[in-house]
């Protein structure tokens, strides 16, 4: 039986207040939303059997008190947006449309995330302002573990899984950016703008192409070049964009790589705690690049971008800017448009697409017996029409391209390049009929 909070006083009895401010990284997301779009990403777990929605709803219900920062709606203050906790409601629905469509952020009945099921797929779609991928991966894995428990399987809650009977802690609620930020001076954000992906977006359309690849194959090929799998796939992606770009290429080609700060800084936060670094190569410098040359150009750049010192400087600058009295006291109605302008005209111009690697999604061995694989999808933005997300279960890497355009040149170049190198690839798509319609 779910205990609904009846008033603010009851809500405040746990460590999360009824209303609380957005964390430092989340402030941009409500500001840059449009009428039909907000930044939503998806995690999915493919089970071996079809999903039982009754048990799934019960599993999500059990986390209502455990994950209070998820059961929230967005509200508009005079100076900033803030979250308000909402009463419990049924959030599990059957999937019936394309993934990552906008979430109703301001509804007093539904939270800023949704849980969906379709046959074997359990999906969690979450507004990025609520939490980052690292936190949501923990959430969906915990829901899956609880769901399997409710089905009668003996699943031990271990590792980073959350027990729905535990209480939410203050450490999970903290804005870790603020805790770790230091005073910095002279940090510049300005970067050369990148080439942009040329596509005709189809409104309210979302094409997903999954590439399933054995991890062993990727390990072997990246070992050849003495780099990590992420670095190798970033290089392949840059090469695919380079092949697709008009020649001569007049701008650098850079991709944005989100980095979870939980690996570098101590944090148990279940909110946003990640940052981006842009990696690429100066395409106009040379007439014709080979894959190996691109690889040499980006070698070590990702590691440089992931160094603790560089990350600390970058997010300390963000925290410092947000704390500036001029920014803090600017009315929200104006601030929203300033942030939106910065997001569209500056931030989004610095890279051609995002590629995120969530690493290995670990679940207890007993749970993995019922799970086929994991998926992660990044939502496209009004400007970026393609995004790439990687996740692995230890055996297979699931590379998911998401796009709101019909053309698939980059996806084709990316996967055929890998298959030419001897990597085994299996392709799945959410819109099998798209070629028949063209």
């Amino acid at each position: 039986m779910i205990k609904n909070f009846q008033n603010v006083k009851e809500m405040n009895n746990v460590c999360v207040p009824a209303r609380f401010p957005l964390d430092n990284a989340a402030t941009i997301y409500p500001a840059c939303r449009t009428r039909n779009w907000n930044n939503v990403y998806r995690f999915a777990i493919i089970f071996k059997d079809e999903i039982n929605p009754v048990f799934l709803q019960q599993a999500v219900d059990d986390f209502y008190s455990r994950m209070p920062t998820y059961f929230v709606r967005l509200r508009t203050g005079a100076f900033w947006y803030y979250f308000e906790r909402i009463r419990h409601s049924k959030v599990v629905v059957q999937e019936d449309y394309y993934p990552c469509r906008a979430v109703n952020l301001f509804s007093s009945e539904k939270p800023c995330f949704r849980v969906m099921y379709y046959k074997r797929r359990l999906s969690l779609e979450c507004f990025h302002g609520v939490a980052d991928g690292g936190a949501s991966l923990i959430f969906i894995k915990s829901i899956a573990a609880r769901y399997l428990q409710l089905l009668g399987h003996d699943i031990e809650i271990s590792g980073d899984l959350l027990d729905c009977n535990d209480s939410f802690s203050k450490a999970e609620f903290e804005d870790s950016f603020k805790r770790h930020a230091v005073k910095v001076k002279g940090v510049k954000r300005k970067e050369a703008s990148s080439l942009q992906y040329d596509a005709d977006p189809i409104p309210n359309y979302y094409k997903v192409i999954h590439g399933l690849i054995p991890v062993e194959d990727l390990k072997a090929i990246s070992r050849e070049y003495r780099i990590t799998i992420t670095e190798y796939l970033v290089a392949v992606l840059l090469y695919a964009f380079y092949l697709d770009a008009p020649k001569p290429c007049k701008k650098p080609i850079k991709v944005s790589v989100p980095i979870s700060l939980r690996n570098s800084f101590e944090s148990s936060s279940l909110r946003n705690f990640s940052l981006y670094t842009n990696i690429g190569f100066d395409a106009p410098k040379k007439d014709d690049y080979t894959f190996e040359e691109i690889l040499e150009e980006i070698r070590g750049k990702l590691r440089e971008g992931m160094e603790k010192e560089a990350l600390l400087k970058a997010f300390s600058k963000n925290v410092g800017d947000a704390g500036n009295p001029f920014v803090r006291f600017m009315p929200n109605a104006i601030k929203r448009h300033v942030l939106n302008f910065g997001f569209r005209k500056i931030g989004q111009n610095q890279f051609i697409a995002s590629i995120t690697n969530l690493g290995i999604a670990k679940m207890p061995e007993a749970a993995m017996r019922y799970i086929d694989r994991f998926e992660v999808l990044l939502g496209e933005t009004p400007i970026k029409h393609i995004a790439i997300a990687l996740i692995s279960d230890g055996k297979n890497m699931n590379i998911s391209f998401t796009s709101n355009a019909a053309r698939t040149n980059v996806q084709r170049d990316f996967f055929t390049f890998l298959s030419q190198k001897g990597v085994k690839v299996r392709i799945e798509c959410n819109d099998k009929e798209s070629w028949l319609r063209q």
Binding site: Q6, N7, V8, K9, A18, R19, R35, N36, I46, R75, G77, A78, F79, W80, Y82, E84, R87, Q94, E95, D96, Y97, Y98, P99, S107, S108, E109, Y118, K119, R120, R121, P203, N204, Y205, V208, I209, G211, L212, P214, R328, D372, R373, E375, T408, Q411, R412, F415, T416, S419, Q420, K424, V425, R426, I427, E428, C429, N430, K432, W435, L436, Q438
Partner: protein, 225 residues
């Protein structure tokens, strides 16, 4: 199934390769033991934005054409302006309430009051020759009705209080604006605007007395930078 052109495995359900569009070959997949995780069949729905925008543009053009014809024939703007103002009122009062949820009652009340106030101002100007009757009677009565509605909705449903506080504060500001207008233009009566302000203050006091903490937190959350 496999795509021989891209050299990739495909599920058994695929006729065409999702990457290149070529015909899938009936070959055995290289990666063994994989099952396709199906997505639902989706009927593509474009945003209704364009349809709404089309209607809006058509409406504005029709109003503009009506006004131009009215002015050309009669040298005054009469029935066409009334029609232009009446359309949003019909939409706000008779159509939208049936398609909205109760959680938005406050925001729709505010919009309805706004549309109706403009209509009242226009009718008073055309019918009486000045705005006094709307400013001293119609609009304050409208505000009083909406303030009482907000109070009742917040008494019935605890969760509506947070919105009611903000809308009542907005109503109080509108009442003050009416009082200032009445003070400036001497032919407008002060009684009804003052009564509307009184209702707003009493309503806010009742909510504060019933839920002092919620009241304080809502104000703090909304206005704290």
């Amino acid at each position: 199934m496999r795509c021989l052109k891209c050299n990739v495995d495909l599920g058994d359900e695929y006729q065409l390769c999702p990457l290149c569009g070529s015909q899938a070959a009936d070959d055995k997949p290289v990666i063994k033991g994989m099952r396709t995780a199906e997505y639902p069949d989706v009927e593509y729905r474009p945003y209704p934005k364009r349809i709404v925008l089309g209607f809006f543009i058509a409406y504005v053009l029709a109003c503009a054409a009506g006004m131009a014809a009215d002015y050309a024939l009669n040298r005054r703007l009469g029935i066409s302006v009334f029609a232009a103002l009446a359309m949003p009122c019909i939409w706000a009062l008779f159509i939208r309430p049936f398609v909205v949820k109760k959680e938005y009652v406050g925001s729709y009340l505010v919009q309805d009051v706004f549309f109706l106030a403009i209509l009242m101002l226009y009718i008073s100007k055309v019918g009486i020759g000045n705005f006094s009757s709307a400013l001293s009677g119609g609009i304050p009565i409208l505000l009083i009705v909406s303030e009482i509605t907000l109070l009742i909705s917040s008494l019935i449903e605890r969760y509506n209080r947070v919105n009611a506080i903000i809308y009542l504060l907005s109503g109080a500001v509108a009442d003050i604006v009416l009082i200032v207008i009445a003070l400036i233009s001497k032919n407008v009566s002060l009684i009804m605007p003052l009564a509307a302000l009184g209702v707003a203050i009493v309503s806010l006091s009742i909510i504060k007395a019933l839920a002092s903490k919620e009241f304080n937190e809502e104000i703090k959350a909304r206005f704290k930078p």
